[in-house]
């Protein structure tokens, strides 16, 4: 092998092969983009309030304590499915109220328990945030997570 493969051959294989695999990746990514924008997410339900909710999620960097669809930090509960954990599949209104109440009740101040800050969100912002969590909960995730515990 050492004699058969010259340096310039190795270089050409590197450039050519990388271009090939990258092209395949772009093709699949384009299809996945289409799939995410039409099949796996609720496009009609992606309202302005859901988007505002996402921006609130980002503004307070919730992802650096929590995970969402398994990505983020590992300090606090998974929130991709928190809407069902709060019973949103059976009683959407009840889950909404419970989540809003949760946000308003933080921090617990319990000694020795991890704390979540108070973000002072108003009622409309809380509704936007819950809309975002409810929308996220509907994403087709190949049935992840395995348990409601997230």
């Amino acid at each position: 092998m050492s004699e058969m493969l010259t340096k310039s051959a190795a270089r050409n294989i590197f450039y050519g092969g990388s271009a090939f695999f990258f092209a395949v990746f772009i093709g699949l990514a384009a299809h996945s983009h289409y799939y995410a924008a039409t099949v796996s997410t609720d496009v009609a339900g992606l309202t302005e309030s859901v988007e505002r909710g996402k921006r609130i999620w980002e503004k307070h960097a919730c992802v650096d304590c929590h995970s969402i669809l398994g990505e983020g930090a590992y300090f606090a509960p998974e929130l991709g499915n928190v809407f069902v954990r709060y019973g949103g599949d059976k009683d959407a209104k009840g889950a909404r109220e419970a989540l809003k109440a949760w946000m308003q009740a933080q921090p617990t101040g319990i000694e020795g328990r991890r704390q979540m800050p108070q973000f002072h969100l108003n009622d409309k912002e809380l509704d936007d945030l819950v809309d975002f969590l409810a929308w996220t909960n509907k994403i087709k995730t190949q049935n992840w997570p395995p348990k409601v515990s997230g």
């Binding site: 996945s32 304590c65 395995p146």
Partner: protein, 447 residues
Amino acid sequence: MKYESQSIAKWYWFVAMALFAVQVTVGVLAGYVYVAPNFLSELLPFNIIRMLHTNALIVWLLLGFFGAAYYLIPEESEREIYSPKLAYLQLVILVIGAGGAVVGYLFRIHEGREFLEQPLWVKLGIIVAALIFLFNISMTVLAGRKTAITNVLLLGLWGIAVFFLFSLYNPANLVLDKMYWWWVVHLWVEGVWELVMASVLAFILLKLTGVDREVVEKWLYVIVATSLFTGVLGTGHHYYWIGTPGYWQWIGSIFSSLEVIPFFAMVVFSFMMVWKGKRDHPNKAALLWSLGCAVLAFFGAGVWGFMHTLHPVNYYTHGTQVTAAHGHLAFFGAYVALNLAIMTYAFPHLLKRSPYNQVLNMASFWVMTSAMAFMTFTLTFAGAVQTHLQRVLGMNFMEVQDQLALFYWMRLGSGIVVVLGALMWLYAMLGPKAASTELAGQAAPAE
């Protein structure tokens, strides 16, 4: 040091070293909050601590890469850097951006995606700095001798800048957001950063062992070919459960398993070079860090990556402490050790000395490495227990965390040792040096 402009690297590395100290110290703070959760919970909540820890890491690693490029490109291209002024301007922009980000984080000024929390003006500053950098080194490389090392390094650095552009794209659709977020994160560490790693390692080993350049360069191309052939489609291992199509479960599992190949190849390649090498280079500490880098990257990225990369496994371990275990050893082995290796190699040249404080430097390698390994083990055990309780039995997250307290104490303990190791290394590099290492007149140490 043969070229004046190589000394630019020194300034990049000073800043990198300072941020390294900040990064590991803040890491210990994060580890402490895990065991004493009320500590600073109002003043400096965990999410802010975490973004300081991870952002400091990424920025100092990048500064280290820039320094490495400014150090090795003149020697490879056999000419001075095109414009040292631009290089210092780039550094000033980066320092202002990094400083601004840190201060901003303390006042809750940040964006909200993991690792990409920098405010927009900092992101734009980074892009401007990257453009200046790429212009500067491309002009140097194009005018000079072209080697495989500069080709691969340049491609890696261009890739870093190009993929970073996706950090500006943040759509309302969470699935699309996540899909392209990985183009920065995964295509960096398992794509273009590997090109930087392989080329910098090749450069150091070439200097340390004196092996024939033709052979080194050929294998460099072979290794980086296996990196990109596997790593690009390997992105699929992040597309299992985020709302992307099911075929990624197959593509991701197969190609990301093959990502072990380049890391294994780097181990074989480095040891072969040392074994075949004729030169007995006095900088033993640099050799230790270089071989350590290859081996630890193989374990952290290769073995710990493979452990959770098959989709039936990842279904259960996704987003648990298993991920944190892998993230730590992979980043440490591949990119922290790489930076410490090139700095350990280059500093004596930059300071016009023969290798100094070698024993302390090598001791710091063993202290840091054992502590990082221990941290990885404790997090892996914590992750295995967490996976079982939370993902198989369906126990509530917070109850499960209570069961893991002992592991988190051990993580904190090993974290403190990591900081001590880092301080030992910094002292070995920057502290007092024996007078006997001063080089008289023009004499340069062995390459």
